[in-house]
């Protein structure tokens, strides 16, 4: 018989702060929203910044704190990119939601201000047309609704929407803050992480706490309660440094066949080439003995290969091309593809 599902909640959800004050490292927005809790006043908001820095968490927390569990459903509408957000859908959903009037009585100890909140998560994936359509909607219901736009890139939100909002940039979390959140989870879950593992986790997650927590949970599932730096690297998809260095040394050697052999090895090992490019990039940028001009030549190739990979080009051929071009740049060989 089929085994029974265990309700094992993902830790990303389990350890999502429930209160605005518990959101780490984003002091400005926390200050403004704490004020909101007292005054029940709130402008439209635009949260932007890299993934896993607390944007969704903050929006959900303030909404919960303002309305409490009972009123939440009737006062807060969440829409994200996986929902169908064609223009008409958005308009109708928001219209139906916003049109029902609200009172302003405090309810169960929550402030319950006289407006509704509409959270548009991943708003940068909405089309320009849909965003334009929203302008009108925002105006029409401005008295009774507050919009929270959440996105990674503020440049993808059209100016007329952005200018109506108070904007907050969410910063990538520092390694210290990541470290302390992670230690907190380890304590709750009874995990053992040595200091090397902890700093590895902070650095491979690159300021994205969601990734850090996901890696931690994956490693815990696979390797039990004692987790090493190596375990974390293996679940993260980060390529071990030796492998990246091997490619780079082959490029320095000027030996095409050696580079080809290393490229073949990367492919056989199943390492994603897009990841390889970003790790190689870090090495190239940091290298002291490579001139700026050489770096520029190499990075230009990285950019081209990255685009080709997105288009679905073959990983082996792209990495070989990058390796060969890097080699040529390092030995100052001319490199032109004349048509």
């Amino acid at each position: 018989m089929a085994p029974v599902m265990q309700t094992s909640q993902p830790w990303v959800e389990k350890y999502r702060p429930k209160q605005v004050k518990d959101v780490a490292h984003q002091d400005e927005v926390v200050r403004v929203l704490t004020n909101t809790l007292e005054t029940s006043n709130c402008p439209h908001m635009l949260f932007y910044g890299p993934p896993g820095t607390g944007k969704t968490t903050t929006a959900l927390a303030i909404a919960h704190q303002l309305f409490g569990p009972e009123l939440y459903k009737s006062r807060v509408l969440e829409l994200n990119a996986s929902d169908d957000r064609g223009i008409n859908v958005v308009r109708t959903k928001i219209k139906n939601f916003a049109a029902v009037a609200v009172g302003s009585n405090r309810h169960g100890g929550y402030p319950c201000p006289p407006f509704k909140i509409i959270i548009l998560d991943e708003a940068d994936s909405m089309t320009q047309d849909a965003q334009n359509a929203l302008r009108r909607t925002m105006e029409t219901y401005s008295k009774v609704t507050r919009f929270f736009f959440i996105c990674n890139y503020i440049s993808r939100i059209i100016e007329p929407l952005a200018s109506r909002c108070a904007k907050f940039r969410f910063k990538p979390l520092t390694e210290e803050i990541m470290g302390s959140r992670i230690l907190h989870i380890c304590k709750e879950e009874g995990l053992n992480l040595d200091s090397e593992a902890l700093s590895t986790l902070s650095s491979i997650s690159q300021g994205d706490l969601r990734r850090a927590i996901t890696f931690l949970q994956s490693a815990a599932r696979l390797f039990g309660s004692s987790i090493s730096a190596k375990d974390l690297i293996s679940v993260s998809g980060v390529i071990p440094n030796e492998v990246v260095q091997a490619i780079f040394s082959a490029c320095r050697s000027g030996n095409f066949d050696l580079a080809n052999k290393e490229v073949n090895n990367v492919i056989a090992e199943g390492y994603p080439v897009s990841q390889m490019l970003s790790q190689l990039y870090d090495i190239v940028i940091d290298a002291d003995d490579i001139s700026d001009e050489q770096k520029a030549r190499i990075c230009k190739k990285f950019a081209e290969a990255d685009k080709c990979l997105v288009d679905g080009a073959d990983e082996y051929l792209q990495l070989l091309n990058v390796a060969s071009s890097t080699m040529q740049a390092l030995s100052n060989m001319p490199q032109d593809m004349a048509f």
């Binding site: 018989m1 599902m5 169908d84 998809g237 066949d257 290969a305 679905g312 080009a313 073959d314 051929l317």
Partner: protein, 369 residues
């Protein structure tokens, strides 16, 4: 039955390579649950084998009782995503279309290649998941279990289909687990990858391949001369499936094995190698025309164009001077990319050959006058 099927390990404790991964997988499902999983690694490295063994570990022998079905899915296509070839029939906001797809299923899981549905891939995936969520298996205590959906070749899944997966993966997480299988993880979107436990399956090392071949030889009661298995492994390019197939081909060709017995190459590889020689010997429109016929021949035999291009590059690189290697590999990458964006792969294969001929000819002229 071919040896590749006959000697595919059925359970996680019987695998010969990837024992470490198999152990981890056992731990992973020891409490009956499992997260969404993404298996990635080169072809012939053992992904499918591990996935099947994992299903058996979770569900027991009944996971092996699979039936093949050719099913027609009725899917509602919304107006905004119409395509030119059926748009003329569209009037209302949505219409229903039929998508035919082959699935492999047991009572606990369904397996399919969603990319076979082409443009409709996203709808098919959604439909199947919804249907699976409706028919949840119920255990003796009346509790609901989950079903597993195995999706092959997710790297070929359209971006839209991958995007629509992210929400589905959360929404139906109580009733459905996804096991995704892909040759390359670069082509799986970050959002999908980050919702799965990623399991990298590397191509086995030559020594490991030798172990598998020796295991098969023992089971078949075959004597293998010293170094024979190693030669097969070396020729296999770390592709285990290929090594096992070649081994069986050798057996058919000649037994008892001899030390100097040739390891037969794949027919199509032999053919590409001839094309490479043709190109090196003469660079002319006439020769290009002949080569084109041969490329066509390969394509009509269903050898994927990028595989042809890579093999051709491999053969050419063996014959070239080091300074030309850079240029030729650059062009190979260039034309393969174009091929991916275009529709007629023969154009791009031929363009690569023409480009090569021109480079090589001017090299010859400048070197030898």
């Amino acid at each position: 039955m071919l040896w590749v099927d006959k000697y595919r390990p059925k359970t996680l404790d019987k695998v010969i390579v990837h024992q470490d991964v198999a152990q981890n997988l056992q731990k992973l499902v020891s409490e009956g649950d499992c997260p969404h999983l993404l298996f990635y690694g080169p072809s012939g490295s053992g992904k499918k084998t591990l996935i099947m063994a994992l299903l058996r570990q979770i569900f027991g022998p009944s996971a092996d009782k699979v039936k093949v079905e050719n099913k027609i899915w009725k899917v509602d296509v919304s107006f905004s995503l119409n395509f030119f070839f059926f748009s003329f029939r569209m009037q209302a906001g949505t219409r229903t279309i039929d998508v035919e797809l082959t699935t492999l299923s047991s009572t606990h899981h369904v397996e399919l290649n969603p990319s076979d549905a082409g443009f409709q891939d996203r709808y098919v995936v959604q439909e199947i998941i919804k249907e699976m969520a409706k028919n949840r298996p119920i255990d003796t205590k009346g509790k609901k279990g989950f079903k597993v959906l195995v999706l092959n070749e997710v790297d070929k899944l359209s971006r839209e289909a991958q995007h629509s997966l992210r929400r589905t993966m959360e929404k139906y997480s109580a009733s459905c687990r996804l096991i995704l299988c892909s040759n390359s993880s670069s082509k799986v979107t970050e959002a999908v990858r980050s919702r799965c436990l990623n399991v990298r399956i590397n191509a086995p090392m030559e020594e490991e391949i030798v172990n598998v071949l020796e295991f098969i030889a023992k089971k078949e009661g075959l004597q293998i001369p010293q170094g024979f298995a190693a030669r097969i492994a070396e020729k296999s390019n770390r592709n285990l499936r290929r090594a096992v197939l070649t081994f069986e081909a050798c057996r058919v060709q000649q037994y008892p094995f001899t030390n100097n017995q040739a390891i037969p190459p794949m027919d199509w590889e032999q053919y590409v190698s001839e094309i490479a020689s043709d190109i090196m010997k003469e660079q002319s429109p006439k020769r290009l025309f002949e080569v084109r016929g041969k490329l066509y021949e390969l394509l009509t035999n269903c050898i994927p164009p990028e595989i042809i291009l890579k093999r051709l590059l491999f053969e050419l690189l063996k014959k070239l001077d080091s300074e030309l290697k850079h240029e030729v590999s650059n062009w190979a990458a260039h034309y393969e990319h174009r091929m991916r964006l275009g529709q007629k792969s023969i154009f791009h294969l031929e363009a690569f050959v023409a480009k090569f001929m021109s480079i090589y000819k001017s090299f010859l002229v400048s070197t030898f006058g």
